[in-house]
């Protein structure tokens, strides 16, 4: 691997919309999926990532580079992750969580899941349905019954569906 030779090895990643990205191997192997390919010797040419589009991959690579430049200091890594995700909208976060899952990057996965949950915290049921692409399959009576079941949890809950 990179460290053995002294010259950093660069990998070329290809998104599913055929964009090519160069990334240092040391950063790219944060992805277990990519690391396995490197270890299996399949990384000689271009690594195709069929489940990630170019825009999301660019973002993931920014993260890979940023986080791998931070020495082993969990607090600093955490604050980098918080900052990295702070300006991402819900759609981007959704793309990122799928990419992190496909690339098997547990630290990114964890951070994005937490961020999505944080965004959801103040949203209404309608907002959640819209953003998650879920159809309301309750009858009005059923929905009322579910609400009734946990009546106290609805008291004093405010929602803010902006963004």
């Amino acid at each position: 691997m990179a460290a053995e030779t002294g010259t950093p090895t660069t990998l070329t990643l290809k998104s599913n919309d055929d964009e090519l990205f160069s990334v240092a191997e040391s950063a790219a192997i944060l992805s277990v999926t990519i690391r396995n390919m490197v270890e299996d010797g399949c990384a000689g040419g271009v690594i195709p990532l069929d489940n990630v589009d170019g825009k999301t991959l660019a973002s993931v690579i920014t993260y890979m580079n940023g986080i791998s430049a931070i020495p082993a200091d969990e607090e600093k890594k955490k604050s980098y992750r918080d900052k990295f995700l702070s300006d991402k909208d819900f759609e981007t976060l959704a793309d990122m969580v799928l990419a992190a899952n496909y690339l098997n990057m547990s630290c990114l996965m964890d951070a994005v899941s937490a961020k999505i949950a944080q965004v959801m915290e103040k949203k209404s049921v309608g907002w959640v349905r819209r953003k998650f692409g879920i159809e309301n399959d309750y009858t009005p009576e059923e929905e009322a019954a579910v609400k009734e079941e946990h009546k106290w949890t609805f008291e004093g809950v405010e929602t803010d569906d902006d963004n």
């Binding site: 759609e91 959704a94 799928l98 959640v128 309301n136 949890t153 609805f154």
Partner: protein
């Protein structure tokens, strides 16, 4: 960087592709009230959110909150979430109320005796026997356990704990009872223990509807108010032996077997004000006998050579007690990231140690009236939608 908006439909497709475990991972991070609201999204989310898979995952991810209540104020048991971040001036101003509940809804004058994986254990003492209750303050369900047949004359000789086994995740109530011949002298530990005529240990696995008898431990005396310290799938008590010495009695909730190991070596004293607690994932012994509160932690679980002094908190002013018959045990509840420690001062008060000022003060989070005396219960509790209705053979009521 300006990002172009995409067609939302493609995004919805993406989210539909989300593997179930990711959905579970995301939803399990929501505050408990939000989870209830998410049940209203659709049928499949409702099913998901009440599946044992989700509930177990949520319990394992949740940071426990604080449950606090008073025996004399059963209408006002309260559960809080902590905000534990570095840089807070003081923690008693940073918390959110999760819910409040009334234990009169299921039992008059009961005492809170434990919390395990979302459920609470209450005991109502009725002259010489106990009525036992399990409730979930989030789903507002409760059950009364069938009578266990134990009738006791000395409350020092009976103890009850509630815990969850490590592998099979079963909720269990354990009752240990040493029957004594009280026609004979029972003043000292040695007397009491030499008069034990029978030892009984009963286990109730939630969902089975029956008490089972198992091999009891050797006779010993329990701290009268100890609710046990649960860690690593074991419940621990600090107990007294016939010779007046103390040891840790350990019950493996999974295998239902008892063992003992040595506590830290405490300085010799007529008083013994030590209680066992769990801080983080570490079994700790808190010694309030002298002018300092000393918290020992067992660095390597099960290795009684690994007890180390973890915190030494200087007591000052009203917290020093010189009387010989003082019984006030301190139970640390939570160590915050900044080193501050929340503790229960016996059953009387909540105290708070500031790592910055190295001093203890009364904890203002829940206003306690000085005149109210004993009966305070404070412990960590993880809120969950685990429904008692999911346990077979239990007749569940609402409160």
């Amino acid at each position: 960087m300006k990002e172009p908006r995409r067609n939302p439909i493609s995004n919805l497709q993406l989210f539909r592709n989300l593997p179930l475990e990711i959905t579970i991972d995301i939803l399990s991070r929501l505050p408990i009230r939000r989870i209830a609201i998410c049940k209203c999204v659709c049928n499949s989310w409702r099913e998901l959110l009440r599946s044992r898979e989700f509930l177990d995952f949520h319990l394992s991810k949740s940071v426990p909150g604080l449950l606090i209540g008073h025996d004399w104020d059963p209408e006002n048991y309260r559960i809080f979430e902590f905000v534990d971040e570095l840089g807070l001036e003081t923690h008693d101003l940073h918390y959110n109320t999760v819910t409040k509940f009334n234990s009169m809804g299921f039992a008059d004058s009961s005492e809170l005796k434990g919390s395990a994986s979302g459920l609470l254990f209450f005991i109502r003492k009725v002259s010489n026997y106990d009525s036992l209750y399990i409730c979930n303050p989030i789903t507002r369900e409760y059950i009364e356990l069938p009578y266990d047949g134990i009738f006791y004359s000395d409350s020092r000789m009976v103890t009850s704990v509630f815990g969850v086994s490590k592998i099979t995740r079963q909720h269990k109530v354990i009752r240990v009872f040493h029957e004594i011949d009280n026609r004979r002298e029972c003043d000292t530990a040695a007397h009491l223990l030499s008069n034990v005529t029978k030892s009984i240990c009963l286990v109730y696995v939630l969902g089975t509807g029956l008490w089972r008898s198992i091999a009891p431990p050797a006779p010993f005396i329990y701290g009268s108010r100890s609710i046990g310290a649960s860690v690593n799938g074991n419940i621990h008590w600090m107990v007294e032996n016939a010779d007046g010495s103390h040891c840790v009695s350990c019950f493996n909730i999974e295998t239902e077997t008892f063992s003992t190991f040595a506590p830290p070596i405490f300085p010799v004293s007529k008083k013994f004000l030590v209680g066992l607690v769990v801080l983080g994932d570490c079994l700790c012994a808190c010694d309030n006998t002298f002018d300092e509160i000393v918290i020992w932690s067992m660095k390597v679980y099960g290795d009684d050579k690994s007890w180390r002094k973890e915190f030494v908190v200087k007591k000052d002013g009203g917290y020093v007690c010189d009387c010989d018959d003082c019984r006030q045990v301190v139970s640390p509840i939570k160590v915050f990231k900044d080193g501050d420690i929340l503790m229960a001062w016996d059953e009387i008060d909540m105290i708070y140690y500031s790592n910055k000022t190295k001093s203890i003060t009364s904890f203002d989070m829940v206003r306690l009236d000085d005149d109210d005396g004993e009966g305070l219960s404070a412990m960590l509790h993880t809120s969950s939608f685990l429904s008692l209705g999911s346990f077979r053979k239990e007749s569940v009521s609402s409160f």
